[in-house]
Structures are given as C-alpha cells and as structure tokens.
C-alpha cells in the first residue's frame, strides 16, 4: 500500500492507495497518523478513494484513529467512494458517528461546517 501525506493549515490529508487489511498495511497507516504533523493537527482527512479492499482489522484501525483524534480535540473525515469499501463502512455503522464524504464537494462542505462550528 502507498501512503501520501499533505499538510496544510492544520489539516493533514492522508491518501491511501491499495488494500487495508494486512498487518504491514495497518502499521504503515498507524505510523503515518502518529507522525508529528498529525499530532499537532486539528483534522485528518483519510482519503480512501483508491483503497480497493478493507476488512475488519482495517475498520478497527479507523475507529482507533477516530478515537485518538476525538480525545485530542480534533476531527477525522473519511473520503470514500469505492462501493465495496463504502458498503462495509456503512454496514459497520460508521455513518452514525464518523464524518464521511463521498466526493470532494461533500468533503469541502464538511470542512466548512466544521469551520463554522469552531467559530461559533
């Protein structure tokens, strides 16, 4: 799995390419999230648009990242439009508590909403 990170105005966008289920893939994402930029940031966008497969181990890691971000007072947004991955995320009930965007427009909207909440 390839991981690309982009940091801008306190927001880290982590783009994943490949699958998210094997130990080494989970470790790579954990390390990317644990890197110093992320610890300082207010929001992480996990771009899963090019993830072709995720299993319960991968879902477990997403929950862990979400928990850590919430504990640190930050946000986690999942950007995902792959039908099979999105389906698994929905079935697992992530939509009930996580911010999920299915495209760039929805992502921007979510970011704006979060910005407004912070201002209020």
């Amino acid at each position: 799995m390839d991981i690309f990170q982009h940091y801008s105005n306190g927001i880290v966008r982590i783009t994943l390419i490949g699958q998210l289920w094997q130990k080494n893939e989970l470790n790579a994402l954990s390390e990317a999230v644990d890197s110093s930029n992320c610890q300082q940031c207010k929001c992480i966008i996990l771009d899963l648009q090019r993830v072709s497969f995720i299993n319960s181990q991968g879902l477990g890691l997403l929950v862990r990242i979400y928990r850590d971000m919430v504990d640190a007072g930050g946000k986690l947004i999942l950007l995902c439009n792959t039908s099979s991955v999105l389906e698994v995320i929905e079935i697992s009930g992530f939509k009930d508590f996580m911010l999920i965007a299915e495209n760039e427009m929805e992502l921007q909207q979510l970011l704006n909403n979060e910005e407004q909440k912070t201002v209020v």
């Binding site: 130990k23 497969f53 299993n55 319960s56 928990r67 079935i91 508590f97």
Partner: protein
C-alpha cells in the same frame, strides 16, 4: 754382469712406464667416471625437478577435483528439501545416504495449485558437477510444470522436452511422480524408468509395486522414443508408500551379492506397521548390516509417505466426501491471498455476480484472518484448513483452526452505542451480514458459511 744390470734397469723402467701409463689411464677413467657421475647427478636433479613438478600438478588437480566434488555436493544438498512441507492428509519423511562420489539423487514434495500433494523422486545418471547441474535444472522444471498440470505423464513429457533441448548430451534421469488427491484418497502416478515404489496396504498387510511403463527423461538422442503413461491407485488411511533410488538395492555385501528389491520388499513388509521415521531407519540399518562394511557405490534416497484419515477431516469440516470439497492449508497472508483468489475465480466461473463475489471475498478474508491471528494466535506451526465448494447454487466455505475455539455469542454487536468505538468485533458481524447461513462447531474453532446464488 753389466748386461744383466742394464737389462734389470730397462725392465724396471719399462715397468715404471707401464705403471705410469696404467696410472694415467686410471686417472683418465676416474675423470670420465666423475664426469659421468656429475652428469648423472645433473640428470637425477632434473628428473627430481620433473617429478616434483608432476607431483605439484597432480596435487593441484586432485584438490581441484575435491573442490569440484565439494561444490557438486553443496549443489545437491542445497536442492534437497530442508524440511518437508506440511500437506493435507499426507505425512512424509525422507533419508538421503551419501556415497563417496556425489550422485544425482533428488526428491521433493510440492503442493499443486489445487492443493494436491505431488511426490517426486529422481536420479540423474553419472556423478559430480554434471549430475548436480542436470539435477538442479530438472528440479526447477518439475516444480514449474507441476504448477501447470496435475497429470504426472504430461509433466514428464514437458520436462523431457525441455531437458533434451537444453542439454543435448547423453545425460539422463529416471523419475517417479505421484499426485495424491486428499479428498478422493488416490494417487495418480507416472514412472520414467525409475525403480517402482512399494505400497503397504494397511487393510490386508499386503505390499504391491507401482509398476508402469515409461521411458527415462533427458536422453536427447532417444528423445523421440520417450513416452509416458499414468495410472491411478486407490489408497486407504494408514497406507504407506516407499519411494527409493537404486543406490539402496544395489548396495553389495563382501561376496558381491546385492541387497536387491526382494530384500527391500521383505524389510518394508516387516517394518511398514511402524511409525514413518522408524520404517526408514530400520530399512537403512538392515541394508548397512547386509553390506557388512562394504562401502556404497552410489548414494541413495528413501522417501516414505503415509495417508491420513480423510474421513475424520471431512467430518470436522461439515462437508461430506460426496461434496468433493476443495481443501487448502493457510499459514500466512500470502496463503490467504492465494486461497481467496482461487475461491473467487471459482465463483466467477459459476456465474456469481460481482457484488456477491466482493461480499464473499470480505467474508473469506475475515474468516481466514480471524483463524490465523485469533484462532492460532499467529503461531505459524499451527495450520488453518479451508474447505470450499462452489456450485451454480451456492458458495460454501468452512475454515478450521487449531486454537482453543471461542464462544461466538460473546462477540459484541458493533452497532450498539456502547460498542461502536471499540476497535474489534466487526469481522463476525460482516460475515453474518453478507452470508445466508453461518454456523460454528461446538468447540468454536470452525466456522462454516454459505452464500446462495442470486436468482436461484
């Protein structure tokens, strides 16, 4: 008186002159002899130098030969399996006994793409580096073609063609290849001029020979004559098959008598009821006793396999023999990928739609990962056995690990508010969501799932 004195003086003078002459001659001879001695010494020295040079060259050639033999030995040892792989329903053990010369014995146990067990033994003609190199090439070719076809005769045809085209010498090899089906409990085999293996039938304590026609492999001048046939033998749990090379039966005693195939048959019959390792150990001991100190002319290999009880394995799986399920062993992430790829390909062949295939993929990965990480707790010495059967009506899978098992009722529902930020418990939830039927055995170390074909 004066005359007499003169005569005496003359006589004395001539005597002295004679003595002087003799002395001169002697000196001359002595000088010649000394010259000859010097000449001989020179020649001796030269001869000595030549002998020393010859000795030096001989030692150099000897050490080169030793080095080459050592290399050949290392090549051959490197090609022998270090550990025989764990196969479905087949136990195996092997012994290789080297002789002073390096021979061309090799054996291998491989898993075919559909997880049948391929047992291969072969013996390259000749010794040293040429035999080791041909052995190396043959071993790689066998492994390559066993991946392509499960017909032993076809594997021999393909390997023969390749070896003949690569080598073009009169180096050849004899071989035996058996492919064991763990569900049907049979072995399809082909023999390429190799000594026929012996089968011990546990049910009636009988020994039979696996004879079949087939030409040896790799003799380029006789390539067009090479033809191979295959046969299938039914086996029962507890049956043992003894594969060997002719170095064993050709071992001689002090009176020049060979150990021979009859003695081997008797010994195998005597020990076949014992544990696998003991069978080989006792046969080797008997052959060594028979030789009474006469060294081996050729190295030899003994390989013995024993069939397990497929019935109990099938009973545990939830499938029956009539279902003819596919069986696979999973020990790593790579195995998970391979197994899933095979299952999904089978679903595609049976007309399942993309959505169903993707859903079944998730379930398969979940079951296998759980079995590997939670069931066997990542212990690579433990195996996960997967049984699956894909038909036009349904895709069925059963995954069994060697762990303690778990109570599936203890797994929390991840949709409940108190569980939703827990980072575990979603695997089984997904499996239950996507499959039409999910069951567990009482111990909790086996999960069985079924997904019916849409529209059927």
């Amino acid at each position: 008186m004066k005359k007499s004195a003169e005569y005496g003086e003359r006589f004395q003078r001539s005597r002295i002159a004679r003595i002087l002459l003799q002395s001169r001659q002697l000196r001359l001879q002595s000088r010649k002899l000394q010259e000859k001695i010097v000449d001989l010494e020179k020649k001796l020295l030269q001869r000595d130098l030549v002998i020393k040079e010859l000795n030096y060259n001989l030692n150099r050639i000897n050490s080169e030969i030793d080095e080459e033999m050592e290399t050949a030995k290392r090549i051959q040892e490197g090609l022998m399996p270090k550990v025989l792989p764990e196969m479905i329903n087949v136990k195996s053990t092997a012994i290789y006994i080297p002789a002073s010369k390096v021979g061309g014995d090799l054996y291998d146990i491989l898993m075919t793409p559909s997880q049948k067990t391929a047992v291969l033994i072969f013996d390259v003609s000749g010794h040293g580096i040429p035999a080791a190199l041909v052995g190396a090439m043959a071993k790689m070719l066998f492994a390559h073609f066993i991946e392509k076809t499960e017909s032993p005769a076809e594997v021999f045809r393909l390997v023969n063609r390749q070896i003949c085209s690569f080598i073009g010498t009169e180096q050849y090899l004899t071989a035996f290849l058996g492919i064991i089906d763990p569900v049907k409990n049979n072995m399809t085999y082909s023999r390429a001029g190799h000594v026929p293996p012996l089968v011990f039938h546990k049910k009636n304590n009988q020994i039979t020979r696996l004879d079949s026609r087939g030409f040896f492999i790799g003799h380029s001048a006789l390539q067009n004559l090479a033809e191979y046939w295959e046969q299938t033998i039914n086996l029962e749990p507890g049956d043992k098959i003894l594969f060997y090379t002719d170095g064993l039966t050709e071992g001689c005693n002090p009176s020049g008598e060979m150990y021979g195939s009859e003695r081997l048959r008797n010994d195998f019959s005597k020990y076949a009821g014992l544990e696998l390792e003991n069978v080989l150990e006792y046969i080797v001991t008997d052959q060594t006793k028979f030789r009474s100190g006469i060294p081996l002319r050729d190295d030899f290999t003994l390989l013995c396999i024993e069939l397990g009880n497929t019935e109990s394995l099938l009973n545990d799986s939830g499938f029956s023999r009539e279902d003819e399920p596919n069986i696979r062993i999973v020990n790593s992430y790579a195995d998970i990928d391979k197994t899933c790829a095979a299952i999904l390909k089978d679903m595609d062949r049976n007309g399942f739609n993309d959505k169903s295939i993707k859903q079944f993929k998730i379930c398969t990965y979940e079951m296998l990962t759980n079995a590997l990480l939670h069931g066997n707790k990542g212990d690579s010495s433990k195996k996960v056995i997967v049984f699956y059967k894909i038909t036009l009506f349904a895709a069925a899978i059963s995954v069994m690990d060697e762990g303690q098992g778990f109570n599936y009722n203890d797994i929390p529902n991840p949709l409940l508010p108190e569980n939703r930020i827990k980072d575990h418990g979603r695997g089984l939830f997904l499996i239950r969501h996507y499959l039409d039927d999910v069951t567990f055995n009482a111990r909790g170390n086996r999960i069985t799932g079924r997904k019916f074909h849409h529209g059927v």
